[in-house]
Symmetry: C2
Subunit: 517 residues, 2 copies
Amino acid sequence: MKEAQRRVAEGILFTDFYQLTMAQLYYRTGLHEKTVQFDHFFRDYPDYGAHKAGYCVNAGLEWLLDWMAEAHLTADDIEYLRGQRGRTGERLFADDFLRWLGANGTFDGLTLHAIPEGRVVHPNVPLTVVQGPMVPAQLLETSLLNHLNYQTLIATKAARMHFSGRGRLLLEFGVRRGHDRGANAGTRAALIGGADFSSNVGISRVLGYPPKGTHAHSMVQVFMALGMGELGAFRAYADLYPDDCLLLVDTIDTLGSGIPNAITVFEELRRKGHEPVGIRLDSGDLAYLSIQAAKMLNDAGFPNTTIVLSNNLDELVIWQIITQIRDEAPRWGLDADHLIKQLAFGAGTRLITSWGEPALGGVYKLVAVCDNGRWVPAIKLSDSPDKTPNPGHKRVWRVYDERGKATADLLSLEDEDPRAADRLVLRHPSDHTKYRALPRQEVSEIEPLLVEVLREGRLVYDLPTIEDMRALRRADTERLDPGVQRLVNPHIYHVSLTQALWDLKQSLIDSAVAQSQ
Amino acid sequence: MKEAQRRVAEGILFTDFYQLTMAQLYYRTGLHEKTVQFDHFFRDYPDYGAHKAGYCVNAGLEWLLDWMAEAHLTADDIEYLRGQRGRTGERLFADDFLRWLGANGTFDGLTLHAIPEGRVVHPNVPLTVVQGPMVPAQLLETSLLNHLNYQTLIATKAARMHFSGRGRLLLEFGVRRGHDRGANAGTRAALIGGADFSSNVGISRVLGYPPKGTHAHSMVQVFMALGMGELGAFRAYADLYPDDCLLLVDTIDTLGSGIPNAITVFEELRRKGHEPVGIRLDSGDLAYLSIQAAKMLNDAGFPNTTIVLSNNLDELVIWQIITQIRDEAPRWGLDADHLIKQLAFGAGTRLITSWGEPALGGVYKLVAVCDNGRWVPAIKLSDSPDKTPNPGHKRVWRVYDERGKATADLLSLEDEDPRAADRLVLRHPSDHTKYRALPRQEVSEIEPLLVEVLREGRLVYDLPTIEDMRALRRADTERLDPGVQRLVNPHIYHVSLTQALWDLKQSLIDSAVAQSQ
C-alpha cells in the first residue's frame, strides 16, 4: 500500500461500514447526541487447544488514544461517503447528515475510563468504558477492538512464555511472521507482557529499547559458497564484533561442525582479550543439543556462555525443554540449574501470532443510555446466560485475601463502595446458585481498577512508560495465586457481582424477556 | 502509535536487527556488492489442525513493491544506528560503513521475478526470486516475508471458504479481530482469495470496492432501552434504507421476536413499493435457524430474501451448515438448493486470522552467489532432507495433463526448457526413489510461472488489478484436480525437479557434507 493510501485506510475510515449506516440512523431519529455508555471486555481467556490461559495482561490503550487523537473525517472522506450508493443506485448518505458528521465526526466529546496497560485482567470485567454522544461512541467500536484485542492477546502470550521460561531472557523475533504492520503492535505488547527485547529495529527505536540480533544462516552460506567455510564466517563475525560474539551454530551440523568451530573462534577471541557471548541453536532437539553444547563449551573452558534457543518456541515447548534439561543434564555430568541460567529464548511465530488462539474475543457492548438526564441500563439477551453483558454504570474492584493474593474481581453499581462494607457478597455473574461471602477481616485490600483517561476528549491521565507497564505486570502476576498462573488447567479466578448489581441484571433480563413475548 | 513514530517504525527499519549487523560484516569483508540470489518459498501448506490446505493462493506482492519504492534510510536513521552500542559500550556500527549504507541503503539495484498475485501456488516453489547486491538483497528479507507470508495465508483461507460456500456471497468482517493494522492487508488478501466484499471502509475505498454492512445489536438495544423495542428499531432502519433493508434478527430471540418483527417491517416496505433485502443471523444453530427463518419468510411471501450467516464461520463450519441444510430442509418442506442460493456468509475472526494456522512459514533462502562473474549455487543442509532448499538459478513450470488440469509444478535449471523435451522426468525433490515420467503427448501445456517484475529496481511489470487477480485465482482453481481442492485430506500436488536440477542438488549436498567432515 502506498503512503497516501495508508493515510486513508488507517484514519477514521478504519472501521466497519455499519458504524456509518447506524450513525445516519441515529441522526435521522434524533438519537445521535444522546449520551450512552459502552463497555469493552472479553468473554473468555485465550484457549490454545491443549492449554488455556488463567489470566490476561491488558495492553493497547496508548495506541488507541494516539489513533483517536489523530483520526478525523476530512472533506475528502465526506465526498467519498457522498458517493456511496445502495442497490437501486440511490445515495446512501444524505447531505444534512454528512454536514453534521463532517462537523462532529471526531472523538472530542468522549469520556473514557480504563484499566491500565500491564495489569492482569479477567473475563467479563470492563477493561475500557466509553461514555459520550451516541455517534462517536458507536463509531469508535471497531478501531477500539482492533487496537485492544490484539495487544492484550500478545501481552498475555508473552507473560506465559516469560513464566514458563523461569524469567530467563525472552527475545521477540516475530516480525516476518506477524500479520503485516500488526507485527509492530505485537512487539510492543510482547514487551509489556514479558519479552525483554525484540529483533524488530523500527519499533524498538520508537519504544526506546535497543534492538537485538546477530546473524542468520545465510551469512554462513555465503562464506561456504565462496570456499571460506563456516569457520571463516565465524572468524569474520568475531573480528567485527569481538565483544558481542554470539554465533548461530546449526547451518551445517550443530555438534559436528558449528560448536567445534565456535569454540575455535571463542579461544582465538579470548587470546585477544575478549570474552565470547555465546551461541544460538535454531533447529533440532533443543533440549538435547543444549546439554551437549553446554558440555562441549564447559570442557573448552566456556562454562558461562549464553545459549539462545529459537525455532517455534511457545510456553509449552519452553516448559518441556526446561523440564528435560532438569531431568537429563545430571546424567551428562552437568548442573541443570547452571545450564538453565545460561539459556535465553528467541520467540517468533508462536508469540507474534498467539499460536493456538490468534484472536481475543473482546467485545464492545452498549450497557446504558441517558434519557432525559436519567441513565437507563441496557441489556442484550443471549441464548447462553453467561454471554449476557453486565448492565449499567459499574465500578470494578480487585479483592485481595489475607495472603495479599488477588482472590476476585468484583463489579458493583456506580454508587457502591465495597470498601465500606463489613462483609462482601460475591455473586456469580449468571449462576444464581453460586456465591461467596467474605468477612472484611479476611480481605487485605480492595482496589479500584478503572482510572479516568479521557474527560470529554481531554487526556487527564499520565501515560505510563513501557517500563511502568512491565512493573505493573510483574506486581500483578506476583499477586496471582500460583494455581491461576498454571500453564495447563489453571484455577478459575472469580469475577463476581455485588448483590445490588446482580439484582439489577436480573430485573433487566426479566423485563427484556417480557418485552419479547 | 503516533503518525511520526509510524513513519519510523514502518520504513526501512521495519526489519530484524541482524540484517544490519550482517550488512556491516559484508561491507567489512568486501562482500557487500557481490551479486546474490535469494528464493522466497514456503515449505508446507497451512495445517489447520483437523484439516489442511492442498494449495495456496499467492498474494502480497504489490504492497511489497510499494514498500520497497518508499523505504530508504534517512540521515536520522543513520544517526540512530550510529548510537547503537554493544555490551561493553563500544559503538556497533563504524562511520565508513554508515556512510556507505546511507548512500546505498535502497532497493534500487534489485531484480525481482515473482509468480503473480492470485495464482495457485505450492510448497518449495520459488514464489519470489531476488537478485542483486548482497546488502540490499539481504536487507529485504524481513519485510518481504512479512508482506508475503500473511497475505498468502489469508488469500488461501478465503479461497477455501469461497469453495466450501459453493461460491455464495462471502463478506469479510474481521477488522476488529485482525492484528492491528494487519487487518487491512488481510482484507486485501481475502478479496484476492475469494471474499466478494468487506465491511472495512478505508481499505475497501483504497481498493475500489464498496464497503458492506447494515447494523449491529447495539442499535436494537438503544431502541429497547428507550422503550421503542426491536420493532421500532427495524422500522427506523427500513424507513431510512428502504431499498437496502437487511435486518439483524437475533438481539432478543431470533424465531420468537426477530423474524416476526422483520416480516412485519418487510410487509410495510412492500406496501410502500420497496423490496426487502433480507436478514442476518449472528448466533445460535445457524443451520437450524436458516431453515426456520426461510420457512417463516416463505410463508409470509418473501421466498427470495438473502439470509446472511455470521459468527465464527470458517470453511468447515460453512460446509457443515450447507450439508445440514441439504439433509434437513426437505423435511421442513423446503427446497434445499433454493435455500442455499439465498445464503451469504459473513466471515470475521477465522478468516482474518487464518484460524487454526495463523502464520505461513515462508522463508527466504540464499541459493546462489556470483563469484568473479560465475554463479555458484549455495546450499543449506538440514536434518530433514525435505527442508534443504533447491539451489541455484531455476525456472518454474506448471505442467497440465490431457484434461487441462495442473498435474505438477516443475523446477528446472535456468537453461532448460521442458517444452522442448519429448518426455518429462519429474523427480521428487528429496526422495530419490520417487519419480514420474510423462510422455509429451500426455501433457497439454507447460507454462512458465515466474514473471519479471523489477529489473535493477525499475518496474517492468504491468500491475494487475484486484479483479485481474481474482480472475487468475478462479482460472487456476478451476484447473486444479478436485482431489487437490478437498477441504479435508486433499491429494498431494506434485512439485518436482528435472533430472538436471536433481543432480545439481545432490552434488552440492555431497560436497557440503564433505566440507563439514
